[in-house]
């Protein structure tokens, strides 16, 4: 799975890359994958899987998926 890290989420991955490849042997709940990476799921506002906006609670991902996560933003 290719995971694009919007907002502050690169902070939680060593080296702070803009995206990270996550190997998945079988489909999994996205929230569990993210928790495994140390990313605080409560700070995620938007989840995009293969170009479609989905709810975090419903997101199930597999190895070929492209996923983007974004925090809520304001001000500026």
């Amino acid at each position: 799975m290719k995971l694009f890290l919007g907002g502050q989420f690169s902070l939680y991955i060593p080296g702070h890359p803009p995206s990270v490849d996550v190997a998945l042997n079988e489909s999994a709940r996205l929230s569990e994958v993210l928790l495994g990476l140390g990313i605080p799921v409560a700070d995620i506002h938007l989840v995009v899987v293969n170009g479609q906006l989905v709810e975090m609670e419903e997101a199930v991902v597999s190895d070929q998926d492209e996923v983007k996560i974004f925090p809520p933003v304001g001000g500026g």
Binding site: Q8, A42, D43, H45, F70, G74
Partner: protein, 632 residues
């Protein structure tokens, strides 16, 4: 003398050229401790009702915040206030940078500027002394040239220069003010007020240190050090450091909340051309910061392959000259930003007024004969860029757009007022209230017209476990709430958050410092004020300082005839967006009206008029303001 303050205000009468210094007492300063509060006090006391904004009788107040210049990250800001030529109401705009701290080090908390200079002038302030000097040779010239010439003339390249540009000289109603060429008092047309006074610049140099004024300098220094460390590792400020505000483009577009084509849509199909990755690849050159700030959210850019003297576009500018004008080219956006900053006018109002004109053009309300032959369609970057100069010079069709979208719409007629996306005459910033209802309530109720920095945004307070909501709990917020809802708890959010943001404007802290938007906890802010002043303050007193400042602004507007009828939203926001995640969803009008009534009740304002009651003004130690308003 109060700790943390020079307790000195500089009074400059440009007509008589008289310059005086006034001392503030500690009792006074504790009620009006800087920034918005100090400016609001002098505006109410010294600007007679119905003063023409661009007349010599208007009073321009420049005031530092309580903590401005202290060694605390984001404590950099000062406010510029006057009756606004854009809204006709209480006018105010803040900026960061280095100028505010320099004013403090030169010995002053604020400058009160009255009258009008017989010839173009600039004010030179150094270490407690001030003089007016001729600016005849500077009038009409670019900000870069003016800054260089002033520094050369004064023989010191560390002089900090606050100035207006050609747009301010030409009285464009949304002309702005810059310091160091890259920090802007953007909104409400304060640059036009300065221009009407023939005042081109205020140059400042000071050699004292904030810590020499502080009650407990070691404690303040230790707090500053801890907060700097926190700023570089806290997730919310870390993100601001990585991408700056241009990082907002993609998340807002993804959520269907990127204002597109004059707020018709929430998703821009050309977003890839303006989002951070395009910015970073095509124009970004370096990060930059304000005075002593570890957040470092400012960007430097190259425009047309050359380093720009005016800093990079912020999110608002990318949104307004990008998606809101339908332009998918970050280089065109960067050029628009540079042009606005060279003429010195607000990028939000300039871009939004052009987007308004584009919609009028596409609907046939205006044609090529009106626009001096410019094909003013959404997406035409060249047309957008050529309009900027015409506005700043008040040339041809630009002369109409220099009046702002509300006045231009009245002149154009027909459906045009519907296309003017403004509140109280000020164009909306690039935040979509159909996706965050309290932001919409803030646009409506704000004394300065639509303002995106009135309350923290709803989406950041929707998840009880999020870092942003946890920060807000330190302010007393009880429960997380959905972004697209009006209810009693959201009213409570609004009341607390507005008092807090108003205190930020009193204290000189940036929106990107304290919770819930960023890293600085409420308790840290209390600790900072205590160390600076020696006052035994608690959070509630700070919130009351913020509320007092808001109420003075409200009283100012009451005297000008503002009331509940002016706390409105553009009609388009009650209709659905044409695309994206919240397509078809407008703000429910009845819910909005009920929310307005509830927030008036929470603030102790009259439900019918929307104005402060005498009782509430007295509770805020503002009896004198109630007398001015005649509030019964």
């Amino acid at each position: 003398m109060p700790y943390g303050s020079t307790a000195k205000v500089l009074r400059v009468n440009l007509t008589t050229r008289k310059i005086e210094v006034e001392e503030l007492s500690e009792a006074f300063y504790r009620l009006y401790p800087g920034g918005k509060a100090l400016a609001g006090y002098f505006m109410l006391k010294e600007i007679p009702p119905h003063t023409e904004p661009l007349s010599p009788e208007n009073v321009l107040v420049i005031a530092n915040g309580l903590l401005t210049g202290s060694p605390v990250s984001t404590a950099t800001r000062y406010v510029v206030s006057a009756r606004s030529p854009l809204t006709g109401g209480y006018g105010e705009s803040e900026a960061g940078g280095f100028w505010g701290p320099e004013l403090k080090m030169a010995g002053f908390e604020a400058i009160i500027i009255t009258g009008k200079a017989a010839e173009p002038a600039y004010l030179w302030i150094q270490d407690g002394q001030a003089e007016l000097r001729s600016a005849k040779h500077l009038w009409g010239r670019t900000p870069v040239d003016v800054q260089n010439d002033i520094r050369a003339e004064l023989g010191d390249d560390k002089v900090r220069v606050l100035q207006i540009g050609p747009a301010g000289e030409n009285l464009v109603r949304y002309a702005n003010i810059t310091n160091d060429l890259r920090h802007f008092n953007g909104r409400n047309g304060m640059g036009a007020v300065m221009g009407s006074k023939n005042l081109r610049a205020v140059a400042v140099r000071g050699h004292s240190r904030y810590l020499s004024l502080a009650h407990d300098a070691p404690a303040l220094q230790a707090l500053g050090k801890r907060l700097s460390q926190e700023a570089v590792k806290h997730p919310l400020s870390w993100d601001l450091q990585q991408r700056g505000t241009p990082g907002l483009v993609e998340p807002l577009n993804t959520g269907g909340m990127l204002p597109t084509r004059n707020f018709k849509q929430g998703v821009f199909e050309g977003v890839d051309g303006i989002k951070w990755e395009a910015y970073e690849k095509q124009i970004f050159t370096a990060k930059r910061s304000c005075y002593a700030c570890a957040v470092r959210c400012k960007r430097e850019v190259a425009v047309e392959g050359k380093p720009s003297e005016y800093g990079g576009p912020e999110y608002e500018t990318v949104g307004v000259f990008g998606s809101d004008c339908g332009v998918d080219d970050i280089q065109a956006v960067a050029k628009a930003n540079e042009l606005c900053n060279e003429y010195l006018m607000d990028t939000i109002s300039a871009g939004a007024t052009i987007a308004f004109a584009m919609e009028c053009f596409e609907h046939g309300l205006i044609g090529l004969k009106d626009t001096d032959g410019i094909d003013l369609r959404f997406g035409n970057a060249e047309a957008m860029l050529s309009m900027i100069g015409k506005i700043a010079r008040r040339e041809g069709f630009g002369n109409l757009l220099a009046e702002g979208s509300r006045r231009a719409a009245e002149k154009i007629g027909g459906e045009a007022p519907f296309f003017a996306i403004q509140v109280k005459g000020q164009e909306l910033p690039m935040h979509e209230p159909r996706g965050k209802y309290n932001v919409g309530l803030g646009y409506a109720i704000s004394e300065i017209g639509a303002d995106h920095l009135l309350v923290a945004h709803d989406t950041m307070l929707a998840n009880p476990e999020s870092v942003s909501f946890k920060g807000a709990q330190g302010l007393g917020l009880q429960s997380a709430q959905p972004a697209r809802v009006f209810n009693e708890e959201k009213t409570s959010h609004f009341y607390t958050l507005e008092r807090w943001t108003s205190f930020e404007k009193v204290s000189g802290l940036c929106f990107f410092g304290p919770v819930p938007r960023s890293f600085m906890q409420a308790a840290d802010v209390v600790e900072g004020v205590r160390a600076a002043t020696g006052w035994d303050v608690d959070l509630d007193e700070l919130l009351t300082m913020g509320e007092r400042a808001t109420n003075m602004a409200r009283v100012f507007n009451a005297r000008e005839g503002f009331s509940r009828k002016d706390d409105v939203l553009p009609g388009r926001l009650f209709q659905g967006l044409e695309n994206g995640a919240i397509q078809g969803q407008g703000i429910p009008r009845e819910d909005f009206e009920q929310a307005l009534t509830r927030i008036y009740q929470a603030k102790g304002w009259d439900e019918q008029t929307g104005m402060p009651t005498r009782e509430r003004l007295e509770a805020l130690s503002l009896e004198w303001a109630a007398d001015l308003m005649g509030a019964g």
